[in-house]
């Protein structure tokens, strides 16, 4: 049903004069976007969190104790006080600085995983959708296998046996278990486009299959996947924190919200702030990504709802 709907929506885009009107129209769309609070609020938070992740030193020093590695065991677990708005963690380090520095790993994993997922999904989805036959059969069966996993369980099993737990390895494992949904969407999106008349026309003019795929099909079928991917970032950040919290994701010397929550689980009944502040940052970040993704989906691809 979805692909049929996709075709209906796609039909008007065959009009050739779109090229000349696009710049003015696009600027109008952008201006419209900035008037909508459903876009502006989450987008501002996302930009802010990304800035924090990129330049943590700019933010961590606001209260005078910006170095996450300056620790004094005597301060272990102390609550919020002047100069230390979030208090201290169990090692006696400033919790605010640590939470600020924790943004980098979460955001990196979210973006890296989503980028990997996108590359795989677009490539495999386009191949399966366009060529069909054996290629489609093979890709679809492999997808079925990964759909057979409850994802968290699959990730735990693989990470449990992974020798290194770095941003890259965790991202790889997360991507391994999250490429399927996007690939399926890409495949059906390409399927909906491949028999439209402008493709037939391109083929009639003698264009080869790869030229058709790259020049004509991909640009027109990538929107739903790209929009879903933005929704995916939030889910990936959650999954990473859950895995790290369980003890199979990032490990202690690296600073991340998941690691902080993992440490907090032993002490939270007495030192609630250890749980509260990393959790708040995590929730606000994920919520911002999810709301932004949801808005983009409504705006650019109402079909997916």
């Amino acid at each position: 049903m979805r692909s049929r709907g996709g075709q209906l929506v796609a039909a008007p885009s065959e009009n050739p004069p779109i090229e000349t009107e696009a710049p003015a129209g696009r600027r109008g769309v952008l201006r419209g976007l900035f008037r909508k609070p459903r876009f502006v609020i989450p987008a501002t938070i996302v930009v802010l969190v990304c800035l924090i992740a990129a330049f943590p030193a700019l933010f961590s020093g606001w209260f005078g104790n910006g170095d996450p590695h300056v620790c004094a065991l005597g301060n272990s677990g102390l609550g919020p006080r002047a100069g230390h708005p979030f208090g201290f963690d169990i090692q006696g380090c400033d919790l605010y600085a640590n939470v600020i520095y924790g943004a980098r790993n979460s955001i990196s994993i979210g973006l890296l995983t989503t980028a990997l997922t996108l590359i795989v999904a677009i490539t495999l989805g386009a191949l399966a959708g366009y060529f069909g036959g054996v290629v489609d059969l093979m890709i679809s069966r492999v997808m079925d296998v990964f759909f057979g996993f409850p994802t968290l369980i699959g990730m735990i099993v693989v990470l449990e046996t992974f020798p290194v737990h770095s941003v890259v390895s965790v991202s790889l494992v997360l991507a391994l278990f999250s490429w399927t949904v996007l690939t399926r969407v890409m495949r059906s999106s390409v399927l909906a486009k491949k028999n439209l008349s402008y493709i037939t026309a391109a083929r009639g003019l003698g264009a080869g299959p790869f030229r058709i795929l790259l020049r004509h099909i991909l640009p027109n079928s990538v929107t739903p996947v790209a929009v879903l991917a933005s929704l995916n970032i939030g889910a990936v950040i959650t999954a990473e924190s859950a895995l790290t919290f369980l003890g199979v994701g990032l490990k202690a010397p690296s600073i991340s919200w998941g690691v902080q929550l993992n440490t907090a689980q032993e002490y939270f009944t007495t030192d609630f702030h250890l749980l509260l502040f990393p959790a708040l940052f995590l929730i606000i970040t994920v919520l911002a990504f999810v709301l932004l993704g949801d808005f983009l989906r409504d705006e650019f691809d109402p079909e997916l709802r």
């Binding site: 409850p150 968290l152 929550l261 999810v290 949801d294």
Partner: protein
């Protein structure tokens, strides 16, 4: 129906092989020493242990043959022996009841609340109640649910003392209510959104007009006709959700200290007890596949259009 059943089961076979193969390959074929991986990175492996593991897992044989041995043992219900020399299958038998109790409680909560919220949202579409439910769903979707569980445990369990904060000493229902509610919260947004969409679609169906012209009351139309027909896609979603629910038990049982299968994985991960993690995960994957099969069959029985397509 017979042919549909056969086709569904045949389709499941490659998936079954594939999933067990991925798990098997993850443990035994990734770079690094498999024996060391089984023992955990910080354990010193003795020659005796290495020999025992080599024999147990046929490590001296070619990879595919080893996978075959693993599969045969699995089909005989043999999940291997963990690092404390306890049969994984006996751990499973001991922990299964707790997880079944938790999962069923969660499932019932999820189904009842999810459908109720979805119906309310559909009937009140575009009004305050609808937006409130949508907003609540977004909030829950955006929150890592292990944090929700933690906060619920601290606030409702420790500070207010309304529910037992951990363990299963108080037995079913009391000890299970809070963990089940936290776990159910995770699946609620999807169920209620799907129900809403499905009910909205059915509200505009021709048979509803017929029922209206027959003079049936609003409530009767809603419950006897619309909701019943709307539940078909929801059934399949509930099936898919069981898989996520099973992975959810790892975090929830770990946080609330319920000695179920998920708790064993949680402990297994922290103690680097590889065989327990792999054994129970395999079981979860198998349960997930079988439940999805049952749900698909049920779906076919509920809606003949699926079967005939």
């Amino acid at each position: 129906m017979g042919r549909y059943l056969l086709r569904r089961i045949l389709l499941m076979i490659p998936v079954l092989f594939g999933t067990t193969f991925v798990i098997y390959a993850a443990v035994f074929a990734l770079p690094g020493d498999p024996v060391q991986a089984l023992a955990g990175p910080n354990t010193v492996v003795t020659a005796a242990f290495r020999n025992a593991v080599d024999q147990k897992y046929h490590l001296d044989e070619p990879f595919l043959l080893r996978y075959w041995h693993y599969l045969v043992a699995l089909l005989h219900g043999d999940f291997g022996v963990d690092l404390n020399n306890v049969e994984v299958s006996s751990i499973i038998t001991a922990s299964l009841p707790t997880t079944v109790d938790l999962a069923l409680t969660t499932w019932v909560l999820e189904a009842v609340l999810g459908v109720a919220l979805g119906v309310v949202a559909a009937v009140r579409a575009g009004k305050t109640a609808d937006y409130a439910i949508l907003g609540g769903s977004m909030l829950v979707l955006g929150m890592p649910y292990f944090i929700i569980a933690y906060v619920a445990q601290v606030v409702l369990g420790v500070w207010l003392g309304w529910f037992p904060a951990s363990g299963i000493e108080d037995g079913w229902p009391m000890s299970y209510l809070l963990p089940a509610a936290c776990l159910a919260l995770f699946g609620l947004p999807e169920i209620s959104r799907l129900t809403r969409a499905s009910v909205l679609e059915n509200l505009h169906a021709d048979y509803v007009d017929t029922a209206v012209t027959k003079g049936l009351s609003r409530m009767r139309i809603l419950y006897r006709h619309v909701v019943r027909n709307s539940l078909i896609p929801v059934t399949s979603m509930l099936g898919v959700n069981l898989g996520f629910l099973l992975s959810g038990t790892i975090l929830i049982e770990g946080i609330f200290n319920l000695p179920g299968l998920g708790y064993q994985i949680f402990q297994g991960v922290q103690q680097h007890n590889g065989p327990v993690v792999v054994g129970i995960s395999t079981l979860f994957v198998l349960v997930f596949l079988v439940v999805n099969l049952i749900v698909d069959l049920l779906y076919g029985a509920l809606d003949p259009r699926i079967r005939l397509a």
